[in-house]
């Protein structure tokens, strides 16, 4: 696969690339074994795009998301967020990057159990530059009625929507979701995806979801398929399927 192919497809010409990756490799030392998680990955992701990173476990999609999210740096190659090189940043620069630009949604929600829904969101808005109100963020994900509930008082789907509200409340430029429906049943999963879809549509937040669920790929603008640490294919969907129509 060439770089041209990777950047082709739906990629709205004329809009700026939010992420630009070139020759990314990542090697982990797992005990005494060296694991090659990424073996040379090139791609671009554009402003406002909804991208699904698809692949089986071990394909390198989480590693890629971690690098995009500033949680990890590549072993070689470069990755740029707009004109900012993420591959050379130190820990505090990456922290600042995450704080100012990135919203994260995790598979297991990772809410703070001692804080209510509203406070979990406020935790992030308190350190953000131009946040929305926590209540607005929670209303956006359909939780306007459950503001003062603690995580233990919410269902899994509700907890994940709190996590989404927490991720978007600071008005991030990018929303990165790691298997956001992985721990949920279909009905709840769809509600969570609806929330993500809405954020992408209404706030124009560049959204990257990683999943091994092929059905979710149907709601994306573009699907980047990873296999064995390489980009196997990039496909553009002619039309995005609404989340509520998904089934798996």
């Amino acid at each position: 696969m060439t770089r041209n192919e990777a950047t082709a497809g739906k990629g709205e010409p004329g809009t700026a690339a939010v992420f630009h990756a070139e020759g990314l490799t990542k090697t982990y030392q797992m005990g005494e074994v060296e694991v090659l998680a990424l073996r040379g990955v090139d791609f671009e992701i554009y402003e406002g795009e909804f991208v699904v990173l698809l692949g089986p476990s071990g394909s390198g999609k989480s590693t890629l998301l971690n690098i995009l999210g500033g949680l990890d740096v590549p072993s070689s190659g470069t990755v740029r967020y707009r004109d900012h090189d993420l591959s050379v940043d130190d820990d505090s620069a990456l922290t600042r990057y995450r704080r100012e630009h990135v919203g994260f949604v995790f598979q297991f929600y990772n809410l703070i159990p001692s804080l209510t829904a509203r406070e979990n969101v406020a935790l992030v808005t308190e350190i953000a530059r131009r946040p929305m109100k926590p209540e607005d963020a929670l209303r956006l994900v359909g939780l306007g009625e459950r503001l003062d509930h603690f995580p233990a008082q919410l269902s899994g789907g509700e907890q994940q929507r709190v996590a989404i509200a927490r991720a978007i409340a600071k008005n991030p430029q990018v929303l990165l979701c790691d298997e956001p429906t992985g721990a949920l049943d279909v009905t709840t999963g769809v509600r969570v995806l609806e929330a993500i879809e809405r954020v992408n549509r209404e706030l124009r937040t560049t959204t990257v979801i990683i999943t091994h669920n092929v059905d979710i790929a149907r709601m994306a603008d573009r699907v980047i398929h990873l296999m064995d640490g390489r980009v196997a294919s990039v496909a553009s969907n002619a039309t995005r399927v609404a989340a509520r129509e998904l089934k798996w």
């Binding site: 994260f104 995790f106 703070i112 159990p113 406070e119 406020a122 992030v124």
Partner: protein, 787 residues
């Protein structure tokens, strides 16, 4: 090794920091236990051995003068086993190049052979020999203080006559293990000397030829001491007997016994504080271990390990820590016992130290530690035992948090998100939080006990020497003298002012209670001896009636307005009813006070005085000392400044030892508690903190959440800790209270500040150690794992 045991060792290795912190707390407990009880046992054993082999008397009877033939009548008293009659002579000692007054006492030993009672343990040289008139054996402590050795000479003034003696040996006696001048509290080996001479030469020097002024005796098995004492008192009364007393009241033995009681009490407090804290630490650490190993426990049980196997697995881990700590504690305790022995050997002149660490102490130290371990981990291990495999395979349900009381009280807006996390996390486990606060508080409390002695002794010094006894010199006369002697003293160059006093040994009786003490007759208008009320204000001595130390009042159950029977133990031994007109505050010793004139009238004597208080110009001090030495009627001189210096010197090393020990051990507790709390909070919350890092929180911000909790606990612990410290000091003060001295509860602001600062420092250091681990949080792992 079985696989499950391998797991135990690896778990232990994984927990090494926390295990070590707990082990140090237990070791501190074991070490204090061994130190206090070991020293107690050793001192007791040494004392018993020394008393037995050197035939320490059981009854002591001082008198004025009795002919030697009375001895057989003493021996004839039923119940008496062995008797020795002796001459005891107070002397002034003249040491070249040592201008300050030195006093002492010479006790007679038989001309030939060893004394039947209170034998000497010779440290160097030889005993006095018959026919050599000027030989003397000096106490080893006095010899060391002045670098005297056999072959040297020493000049004493005995009954106003100078006599140069040849030192032939140095010795220790069971009678003078605690060697202080009469009425003193702290030994001063430079200014008070104990010596022994052969009976015949001492008798002729002290005008006691063929007479004695002191009887000591032992009792037959089964004899009733009080019966013997009563008969002895009756027998000796015509000869100026001032009342016989038992070994329990013998001054040296009393001090030593008092110290042993203190050691026993200390051994009951401190070790148990440490072991209590250790039990708590075990509880939190093992509970956390069991909770993180839920799935492992489930697997073990699924494979067929029994509940007992699982329970023993965790208990074994605890026992390895306990036994390691016990061995460490025993070693440190034994070493500290050696250090204590050195201090005690300076304070109590024992000839040797029978080092004892009875197996019973070792066994109980180990047992008590094992007990603390089992008690502390009981609930956690029971939790592991009761866990059902299927239930354990599932993750623990998420913890349900609530808003804390403070937030519900409407203060919620004051707290940021991280601050709320801290508060709710603490409120979520109120018992654990409270125990952590208590643990840290105990560290502050122990730190305060380390400094308490210093504070209270400084205060006692201030009251005793600063407010109450304000003379520069006190001079005592050989026997009651007319008050005209004051003019003689005032005419000495450099003497600025003087007052006289009369000191009468008495027995006070109230109801069935009776105490031997001294009544001091002082001039009502006196400036140098001030009586203080309980608020430490000067009170005027009433023209008649008796004023006494409040503690003496307590011993006799006397209130102001009651009357006591006062029996003078000298002169014509008058017995009179005297009204008690006041109680006064005094920390050292107990005694009664009367107006000088009133006391003279009561004694049926003229204007007799026993001594004088002088204030002097310090430039003339040495000249005054020299002149006083040459005055035949002066029996002894005490210099206040020296007394104070001496007091401080003696206490310094003892206090320094305990305060550095207390500081070390308290730091171990503070560190153990804070470090373990921090580590547990870290494992409990690492996922939360890593999530926050992913969300863009900086290391500083998540450190605030983790360390803020510890900081808050530490700050919460300090005020109750300081109160607890005060209570502990009050308990200690109460414990040592006796007629010898009372310790007021005085704690300087510095002491509170020191305790608070040390606890904070320990918390900061533990915090920093844990903080380093925050830098190694696995940010990626946290995204992939369920809690």
């Amino acid at each position: 090794m079985r696989a499950i045991d391998r797991k135990m060792w690896r778990d232990l290795w994984h927990l090494k920091g926390q295990a070590l912190a707990i082990a140090l707390v237990i070791a501190s407990g074991v070490a204090t236990f061994v130190m206090f009880l070991g020293t107690l046992e050793s001192l007791q054993a040494t004392r018993e051995d020394f008393y037995r082999h050197y035939r320490f008397a059981q009854v002591f009877a001082p008198l004025k003068r009795a002919p030697e033939r009375l001895r057989s009548r003493v021996e004839a008293i039923p119940g008496v086993e062995r008797v020795d009659t002796r001459v005891v002579a107070p002397v002034t000692i003249d040491i070249p190049h040592f201008p300050e007054p030195v006093t002492g006492v010479i006790t007679s030993v038989p001309d030939r052979g060893e004394a039947p009672l209170n034998r000497l343990y010779m440290k160097s040289g030889r005993r006095v020999e018959a026919g050599r008139n000027n030989e003397v054996v000096v106490s080893e402590a006095f010899a060391a203080a002045h670098r005297l050795q056999p072959g040297d000479h020493i000049t004493v003034i005995i009954k106003g006559r100078r006599k140069t003696l040849d030192i032939v040996g140095t010795a220790v006696s069971p009678e003078f293990i605690h060697q202080v001048r009469p009425g003193g509290v702290f030994p001063d080996y430079q200014r008070y000397g104990v010596m022994w001479m052969a009976r015949t030469p001492l008798g002729s020097a002290y005008d006691m030829d063929d007479a004695f002024n002191d009887v000591v005796l032992t009792l037959r098995r089964g004899a009733h001491p009080q019966d013997v004492i009563d008969r002895l008192d009756t027998l000796l009364a015509p000869y100026g007997g001032i009342g016989a007393y038992e070994r329990a009241d013998q001054p040296s033995n009393r001090f030593l016994s008092q110290e042993l009681v203190q050691l026993r009490n200390s051994s009951l407090i401190f070790p148990f504080i440490f072991l209590g804290v250790a039990a708590f630490l075990f509880n939190v650490v093992i509970a956390r271990l069991v909770s993180t190993q839920r799935e492992q426990i489930a697997s073990l049980k699924a494979f067929g390990y029994s509940n007992l196997d699982v329970g023993l697995h965790y208990l074994k881990l605890v026992m390895v820590i306990v036994l390691f700590a016990a061995v460490l504690g025993l070693g440190v305790g034994a070493w500290l016992t050696g250090k204590m022995a050195v201090i005690y050997m300076g304070f109590f002149r024992l000839p040797y130290f029978e080092y004892r660490l009875p197996p019973a102490i070792v066994a109980s130290a180990v047992l008590v530690s094992v007990g603390a371990g089992v008690l502390g981990t009981f609930f956690a291990v029971r939790g592991a035992v009761r866990l059902r495999p299927a239930q354990a395979m599932r993750p623990e349900p998420p913890a349900l948090y609530r808003e804390t009381l403070i937030e519900r009280a409407g203060l919620k807006r004051m707290f940021s998100g991280p601050a709320r996390m801290i508060l709710r996390h603490l409120g979520h486990r109120p018992v654990k939080s409270a125990l952590t606060v208590i643990g840290i508080g105990l560290a502050a409390a122990i730190l305060m006990t380390g400094r308490f002695q210093e504070d209270t002794i400084a205060f006692m010094m201030h009251v005793h020497y600063g407010l109450s006894q304000r003379e520069d010199l006190s001079v005592t006369f050989v026997e009651p003298t007319s008050r005209g002697v004051l003019n003689e003293l005032r005419s000495l160059p450099g003497v600025e002012y003087g007052e006289v006093f009369r000191s009468v040994p008495v027995r006070l009786r109230h109801g069935h209670r009776s105490e031997r003490t001294v009544v001091l007759g002082v001039e009502g208008s006196g400036e140098l001896q001030r009586l203080l009320n309980t608020d430490l204000r000067t009170v005027q001595l009433p023209p008649s009636g008796l004023v006494m130390t409040d503690y003496l009042g307590k011993m006799l159950h006397v209130k102001v307005g009651d009357s006591v029977t006062m029996e003078a133990l000298e002169g014509s031994r008058r017995i009179r009813r005297v009204p008690v007109v006041g109680l006064i505050k005094q920390y050292l010793g107990v005694r009664g006070y009367m107006d000088l004139g009133a006391l003279n009238r009561l004694m049926g004597e003229g204007a007799a005085v026993s001594g004088a208080y002088l204030s002097i110009d310090s430039r003339y001090a040495n000249e005054i000392y020299r002149r006083l030495k040459d005055m035949p009627r002066v029996a002894g001189t005490t210099v206040r400044a020296q007394e104070i210096r001496n007091f401080r010197k003696t206490m310094r090393e003892t206090m320094l030892f305990w305060s550095s020990l207390a500081t070390t051990f308290a730091t171990v507790i503070a560190f153990g508690v804070v470090y373990n709390s921090a580590r547990i909070t870290l494992t409990e919350r690492s996922r939360e903190l890593a999530s926050l890092r992913v969300l863009g929180f900086t290391r500083g911000e998540i450190s605030y959440i983790l360390l803020g909790e510890l900081g808050l606990l530490t700050l919460l612990a300090i005020p109750p800790g300081l109160l607890l410290g005060r209570a502990l000091c009050a308990y200690i003060a109460n414990m040592v209270e006796s007629d010898l001295y009372r310790v007021p509860l005085v704690l300087e602001p510095d002491t509170y500040a020191f305790a608070a600062a040390m606890v904070l420092l320990a918390a900061v250091v533990s915090g920093l150690i844990v903080r380093r681990r925050l830098d190694r949080l696995d940010l990626i792992g946290v995204l992939k794992t369920r809690e």
